[in-house]
Symmetry: C2
Subunit: 457 residues, 2 copies
């Protein structure tokens, strides 16, 4: 067996940092969502770039699959070992290597989580902006081109990574990008690895762009009688150019879920949550303009807050929404959808999706980073219930087709893994073949996270 | 001859839109800077994506080089036909195909220039932000990942292109990206083609992100006794986070050149030019904070303007700087450098460069988009003077090495062409090999702009 030959060599290299314990294998083969368990043959815990390179050289020689593993928060089966091989757990490579205050950059290892990074930055006046909700690892967020609530203002991982160190499939170590804020020096390899989900190389170091802590932050929440008014209000806010730092939509069903989960007493109606960052006077001006716009769409009960604890309380409903939604159907797991459409089609996309889910037999609370045109439905199913899974997949498939018909994408921020592989041909056509050509050029032995992102080889 | 066989077929396809006239060949083989003429064997003028695909199929079959050509404003010999073949002039593919007001996007053909696009947008309240100075084509700007004066606020081409149509080397037509503002759907092919300088495919359509015309614009100019104070002031403005829309540095020698060229009477000292975009109150607040910061660095004679004609007059010196600098040495051509460093190293980088040029025998006025850490020296040489060219190359080489030593890049916005090929190994190391692997995968016959960006094959 090629995998077994690799494991023998890896065991000699790593000692007890190559684990074959059942709990370890199960943990690394599990999924946050509905995918069946697919454990690896072993879990490796490297402690340096050099070790990652050694591991890849061994696996390359033996054709053993290698699945880079961060915090395990991926939603599309990204880390499932569907072809066996090793899970390369980067948890021990979790240090902040450098904070470059003057350049507002930090150099970090991939296993560091975003919350850990922000804790380290607390006294610097700087922060790392990308916030996908889960406490994901920075390496994993880079590998999936993650975004989340603040992307509308500060951008996605694509906008906040300046440079990478990457170990290629054959063990070569390369550096991409630089400490400069821009460059026209050759192909944008940094951008190519961002979103490649561990299929083109293993990210072992990242230079991330930080932002100055805003002088002031204000938050606001308001409700709407009708979902279309909430969405139209968001679209107006974006098109007018009010510089929101976050702008989130939560539908009535999600609000009901949150009230049950968190003990809040929000009216069971569609809500918008918004946040402004800037100077005292700027956030006051922004909040006032926001109020004027949403008033025209019939916003009700606008509440605002500026103090940290009040803002946190105000945003509780949004922060807890995913777990609250799972609670709507006790014991449920979720098929989580993630479409993103041009902002001009957002209201239509959300309305059609709502009607579709309403006509279905399974619940599907909706929420989203609507300032980007990105929204999710958490389609709740009983684990192991094939009929419910089929219905959820039918709804998810219709959402994907709808997003593509409207000029959007099947995934705004979660990525492909193997959960969305079936839609890649529809979204990309011949460009999907080009992705495969790049994959074959950089990983000819197909050892890096095989079966994900590109067409099977 | 493989090229001749291709020309015979191309002539049958294009008729008199395949030109072999001497003036056409000379114009397409010329350089804006110091490179020797390298005319193509013919110039093709396609009028549609289908024709571009047909041309590439023919050239692919015969191994005939194809050099995509926009407005011919590249500075590193990007469009020189150093291996012969055809220049693919996209000037006839210059239409605005769609303006998507609600999404703040436009769909354009590659031969359209940025000034033409902004003229078309004049009544929409929107504008295309990327401004490299020259009236470049949008396709060419995409192919070089161009930026310019507004990148500090609105980003580079990397940040302002949402989707592309690209014809691959073998004539396949693909679409990358989507109309959505973000996506995690597979490899970022859009980003890969941006900056690939026509070596991976020919861009035939672009979806560009537009921005709302700011409600108010204010501009300011000030002088400093010493260059280091001017640069330190810029660094402080950026680090404090004043949201400048443009912030430009022009050295004393460039100011002298502009005074001679444009009849202005600015003091012959280092200057900063700045612009603010926003609401009336925001730009006033920004300008006031700017004044407070630069005062601390000894700024002299701060002048401000808000009316369009006053702002234009104020910025004249900056707008005319390149041509004015050429005028410093009548009949001169220029070796134009383009390094970009982390902002924390900017003062040091500029100071070392100034000392280097001061000790040299040739003039080299300096200016730059310093908010990004990007600056240029125009090293002025007599055409055909080998000693002066060698000296300019020595200075340019030292600038490149300096930028790399400081964690920066050899080119912030001009790209590689073949003028900067010699520094690619130093900047990228093994990553340059990876670029070559991608090139070979997507253009195995090496027909797309051969001899540029990647290592010779």
């Amino acid at each position: 067996m090629t995998i077994n030959a690799a494991l023998t060599e890896l065991s000699a290299l790593l000692g007890d940092r190559l684990s074959r314990s059942k709990p370890d294998l199960e943990a690394h083969g599990a999924s946050e969502t509905h995918f069946a368990a697919a454990p690896p043959d072993a879990v490796a815990y490297p402690e340096s770039t050099g070790e990652v390179a050694d591991i890849l050289r061994i696996c390359h020689a033996h054709g053993c699959p290698v699945i880079a593993y961060g915090a395990g928060t991926a939603l599309e089966g990204h880390t499932s070992a569907i072809a066996g091989g090793i899970s390369l757990d980067l948890a021990r490579m979790n240090r902040v290597l450098d904070i470059r205050q003057g350049d507002m950059q930090a150099v970090v290892q991939p296993g560091l989580t975003r919350e850990e990074l922000n804790r380290e930055l607390r006294t610097t006046g700087l922060f790392f902006s990308v916030d996908p909700g889960a406490n994901a690892s920075i390496g994993g967020m880079a590998a999936t081109r993650a975004s989340g609530t603040t992307a509308v203002r500060y951008g996605t991982m694509r906008d906040n990574i300046r440079a990478l160190e990457v170990v290629m499939a054959d063990g070569r170590v390369i550096r991409t990008g630089s400490g400069a804020r821009k460059s026209s020096s050759g192909y944008d390899l940094t951008g190519l690895f961002l979103g490649s989900e561990g299929t083109l190389g293993v990210i072992t170091e990242l230079t991330v762009q930080l932002h100055g802590q805003p002088e002031a932050i204000s938050a606001a929440v308001c409700a709407f009688e009708r979902m279309e008014d909430a969405v139209d209000a968001v679209v107006a806010v974006i098109q007018i150019g009010i510089p929101v730092a976050r702008i989130e939509f939560v539908d009535a069903e999600s609000v009901r879920a949150v009230n049950a989960y968190s003990g809040t007493d929000l009216p069971a109606k569609p809500h918008i949550f918004v946040e402004f960052h800037g100077s005292e006077s700027a956030v006051a001006e922004d909040a006032e303009r926001f109020r004027e716009v949403v008033d025209e769409f019939g916003a009700e009960g606008i509440r605002t807050a500026t103090r940290t604890e009040d803002r946190t309380a105000l945003w509780t409903a949004r922060h807890h929404a995913y777990w609250a939604c799972l609670g709507l159907k006790p014991g449920a797991t979720a098929v989580v959808t993630d479409v993103c459409v041009p902002i001009s089609r957002l209201a239509e996309a959300i309305e059609e999706t709502r009607a579709d889910i309403a006509a279905s037999t399974i619940p599907g609370p909706m929420l989203g980073h609507v300032g980007d045109g990105n929204f999710h439905a958490a389609l709740l199913i009983e684990p192991g219930n094939a009929a419910e899974l089929a219905e959820a997949k039918r709804l998810a498939s219709r959402m994907a087709e709808r997003a593509l018909r409207m000029g959007g994408t099947i995934t705004g921020e979660h990525g492909i893994g193997f959960g969305k592989l079936a839609y890649m041909e529809a979204e990309h056509g011949a460009a999907w073949d080009v992705m495969g050509e790049i994959k074959r050029a950089l990983d000819p032995a197909n050892i890096l996270n095989p079966g994900k992102v590109v067409r099977g080889q």
